[in-house]
Amino acid sequence: MKNMTFAQAIEDALATAMEKDKRIIIMGEDVHMLRVNLHTRFGKKRVLSTPISESSFVGAAVTAAMAGLRPIVEVMLVDFIGVAMDALLNHAAKIETFSGGKWNVPMVIRTACGGGYGDGGQHEQSLWGWLAHIPGLTVVVPSTPADAGGLMLSSIQLNAPVIFCEHKLLADYWLDYLGAGGRKTVEFNIPQQGARGKVPDQWRPLPIGKAVIRWKGNDITMAGVGVSIHRALKAAEVLKKEKISAEVIDLRTVSPLDKQTLCKSVKKTGKLLVVDEDYQNFGLSGELAAVVLEAGIPVLYSRVCTEDTIPYNRDLEDKALPNTEKILEAALKLLRR
């Protein structure tokens, strides 16, 4: 086992994939600097800098993938995906169906997501639920370095479009780029276990659509992805002191969803608390409730999500995003019901 940061793990896994498969190319704004190591090693034919033209280069990646390349497209921040949405919504996601299953789109959108560093509501969204709503898109949200590398590998290998969401509190270079800017005068609540950790000596693809239980328990199930998992783990630690045993499920992929692991846990605990940094309404949190109800499992349900546009003010932002206090409060309330 080796130790790596979240960002190093992705880059390392990517390099491993790129050295084996020449069809893999990277494109996006600023990648000659943003991915300077890969640009150096694999050259500018495989690491292509683009103009600020998201609708066009994401659209181009779709057909490049159809024609034999395996593009990894960097959409710097997931918020900017709005500009490129048509390529994903009406094209990437639908080609396989439209072609009668004869043609697929093996591409990865790599994009930074999430808040917690005071950049305002146009740069800190999560949007994985919104993206997962579209049939045909796979949406991956890793929470540890090992998962980030392993899931990047499987995302590249999948013969379908994948949105790979990289949380800015976990990826140190993004946080420095957008949050700190070289300053030592600002502080962030970084989940250390997610930002750095053990990774396998040899990268192997992790199964997409397979959740993992991060904390075993019997009294209440807490489920989510990304940074929210680390907030939930903190809450589970506190609950343990209160003799409450929580189970924390890291879904790892939003779509496809590991219904089995979720249902098994909820069947046991009878209580589901969804922790989701994405918007509350019409998203992942509601979907998890639907999954459990459809399976006929009786459940007490609650959720801690982002309800509104994320405010710029750091204190208001902290209150808007799921945090350990809010999770604890919701968990205790649910347990008392």
């Binding site: 640009h39 050259g43 033209s53 918020d79 710029y312």
Partner: protein, 342 residues
Amino acid sequence: MKPDLWYLYKNMLRSRLFEQSVTQLWNMGKISGEMHMSIGEEAIVAGTVLQLQKGDAMALDHRGTSPMVMRGVDMELLLKEFMGHSEGLCGGNGGHMHLFSKKHLIASSGIVGASGPAAVGFALAAQYLHPGKVALAFFGEGAMNQGMLLEAMNLAVVWNLPLIFICKDSKWAITTISASVTGGKLIERVQSFGIPTEEIDGSDVETVWNAGQKALQRARSGKGSSFIYATCRHPEGHFLGDHLIRITKHPIKEMKKIAGPLLKSATKIRGASLIQRTNSLREVTRLIGKTKKQQSFTGKDPLTIARKKLQSEKKRLHELEDEIKEEINTVVTRTLHSLSHP
């Protein structure tokens, strides 16, 4: 109307000193997130915004501070907004990239190119509701590769809108040299839509004023849109803490951080040919060199240029500068005071 250089310089200086205070507060950690400066764009802003009338609208990009200040938005409200205060311009909800003033008809966006369609909407409303009023769109040359901006230009032509597109060309799109990702000449793109263009040195405020006046007259008299293409420099780079600027300022400290992985990448087995790898490495050093050269003012500071022309009246100049310094000091002191004594 001939430009009043004293008036223009005063406004540019106010904007510059205000943004320098913002820089200090950002460095102190009192402002969060990214902070994109308009430092270097003051002449472009002054030469156009100071000619606006009540009822004119502006669509801004992520460098909204200077246009806001010059349009008369209260600097204390702006500073409080940057600091995320509930008494800020947008109640601390928007932050510096998302500045809005309904009273002044100003909307900003952190999405590159979005000021194009935004200005089209403002201009359409002006044409319909308040003939004679206009809309400005500010954006960088990087935005000229964004489809929505080009679509906006087409709309402005087919609807004959009272709109002035103002392209501030710093030669850099984040840390990409714009020319390396741009085909053809930007000005010719715009001309092909049938929009009259003016290519100017954006560091000379009088030149900008004259171009602005022409474009505004055309728009107000119902003759349609114009495009002002003005050069500028961004000595702070893309935003405060810009990585390339950091490297040029502290080469040893910053290169130490990236050199290890970079050399490893250059020598690892399997990958591109040696020539390609050397080219990639050369690209990094080329960018650092270009940053040093192109992002610094070196004779192109709009304030220095304007100031030189006013130097014959030394006493008046110093009085004006003292007055503005005092004004900014008061803004900062009052803001910090009200934040510590709510």
